[in-house]
């Protein structure tokens, strides 16, 4: 019995090797068949599933890729490649939040291994893209909603203002009706003044001609109208400030200088601090120590590679910034991250 199991697993391993060979030759169909046979023999080996998933990926068969990845994760929830490819498949389906979750998991798991492996770079890139798209989708929806609410608020303020003005005019109208019995000139005046509410000087000069009693009434009415007008404008201003503030997370933000490395002039990924107290991007600083010289680039103090330590505070700062600003702020920054795959610097 035991030997049969072992021979089945041996056979499956052979099939996997065969699949890998086909894969290298880009014969993905044949590779899928080989992996499928391996799975039939031994369905509990996650690698068979992830390898087949990779073939599906090459053939853009996203649904199959997704289900193979899920199967692999059932068998091994720490399968980096399964998390990674599942993330990609979810991106295709526009399930950004879930895609981000799996890509983050993949990144976390792969960092535990070799920190500079090509896998990390690839995952990082995809994650950056996913996060940006996710942010964009969410922020677009939020912007739309905010615009709607803002329009409603503005309309309400306007209506309230107009109603208040109307009420004032009605009140004035009644007063005028009474006064008209005494002096018809007054109603003409006030008509003129209603039009002139925003032009105090001209109203003032008009008042000069009126008698003392009329002047008092007009002044109070004019000041009441301009008070209403001012209040309305202030409220519009306040409203606009509120919405601008609320909308600021949806605008791509500049990366603050203190989160940027002086050498790369880009946001930190893996910041390290030197004994001089200066923080640099780890890979680039080590490159400098290797190629340029054993000194702190900024202070020129002697510096050995073993003297640098992670700057966790800055790292957290970067994470907070990225979380608040839709990962990259702008899509072009995603491309910046590709530089780490450039061989010379890692």
């Amino acid at each position: 019995m035991a030997s049969r199991i072992s021979s089945a697993s041996k056979q499956a391993e052979l099939l996997k090797d065969q699949g890998n060979l086909y894969f290298k030759k880009e014969r993905f169909g044949a590779a899928i068949d080989a992996y499928t046979e391996a799975i039939t023999l031994c369905s509990d080996v996650p690698v068979y599933w992830t390898n087949r998933a990779l073939c599906h990926r090459k053939r853009n068969e996203w649904e199959r890729m997704e289900s193979d990845c899920r199967k692999a994760l059932e068998l091994d929830k720490h399968a980096v490649k399964a998390h990674y490819m599942l993330g990609l498949a979810l991106l295709q389906r526009e399930c950004y939040a879930e895609a981000v979750k799996h890509l983050e998991k993949a990144l976390e798991l792969s960092r535990g291994g070799k920190p500079t492996s090509y896998m990390v770079e690839e995952i990082w890139r995809e994650l950056a893209k996913a996060k940006y798209i996710e942010w964009e989708v969410v922020s677009n929806a939020r912007r739309k909603k905010q615009k709607e609410v803002r329009e409603i608020c503005e309309k309400a303020l306007k209506e309230e203002y107009e109603a208040a003005v109307k009420k004032l005019k009605d009140k004035e109208g009644k007063l005028n009706d009474i006064k008209q019995l005494n002096d018809t000139r007054i109603s003409d005046m006030s008509m003129g003044e209603v039009i002139l509410i925003e032009d105090d000087e001209r109203v003032d000069s008009g008042e000069m001609e009126a008698d003392d009693f009329q002047s008092t009434v007009d002044t109070s009415k004019v000041s009441e109208l301009s008070r209403l007008n001012l209040l309305y404008k202030e409220r519009l201003q306040a409203l606009s400030e509120i919405f601008n503030k609320a909308g600021s997370p949806d605008k791509p933000a500049e990366i603050p200088e203190y989160l940027c490395c002086g050498i790369t002039m880009d946001i930190f990924r893996d910041p390290v601090i030197t004994p001089s107290g200066v923080t640099y991007e780890r890979a680039v600083l080590l490159e400098h120590l290797r190629k340029v010289g054993k000194f702190d680039p900024l202070t020129r103090a002697d510096l050995q590679p073993n003297q640098v330590v992670s700057n966790l505070a800055i790292k957290e700062g970067v994470q907070a910034f990225l979380a608040e600003n839709g990962q990259m702020g702008s899509f072009s920054s995603v491309i910046i991250y590709e530089r780490w795959s450039f061989g010379g610097f890692v």
């Binding site: 002086g262 050498i263 790369t264 002039m265 880009d266 680039v284 490159e287 400098h288 190629k291 340029v292 000194f295 680039p297 900024l298 020129r300 910046i336 590709e338 530089r339 450039f342 010379g344 610097f345």
Partner: protein
Amino acid sequence: MSTSTPQKTLSRIAAHRLQKELAEWQANPPTGFKHKATDDIQLWIIEVTGAPGTLYENEQYYLQVDFPEQYPMEAPQVIFVKDPPMHPHIYSNGHICLDILYDSWSPAMTVSSICMSILSMLSSSTSKERPPDNDRYVRNCRNGRSPKETRWWFHDDKV
């Protein structure tokens, strides 16, 4: 000036840094310098105006900054083009004897900081003359050698 460098491609890090430096320069140019627009981000031409109250007051010179593929791990090549200023550290072929451009380069330096160093070098000059070894040096560079290939021994800081 025939400092011919073969067309090279910048590393991603270099490309990104140059874009950042150019943007920073445009937003906040160092006093006395003007970047002449070219369509090549790897080759900057910069106009220098001598600082007021110095021997080079209101005189105009041109710097050519050529960025290597591995910038900023490697210093850019900086030379004067057209008529180089008469200066004890500047050769008639435009090469500049300034340690930060060679042995003392640090990736934390920028085009902007190089420019400031060059301007301060000009400003501190007390006589308009060529380095004593000018003729010999220029003769040795006739084949278009880059100043970065020179083994410099640096003149002291007092001009």
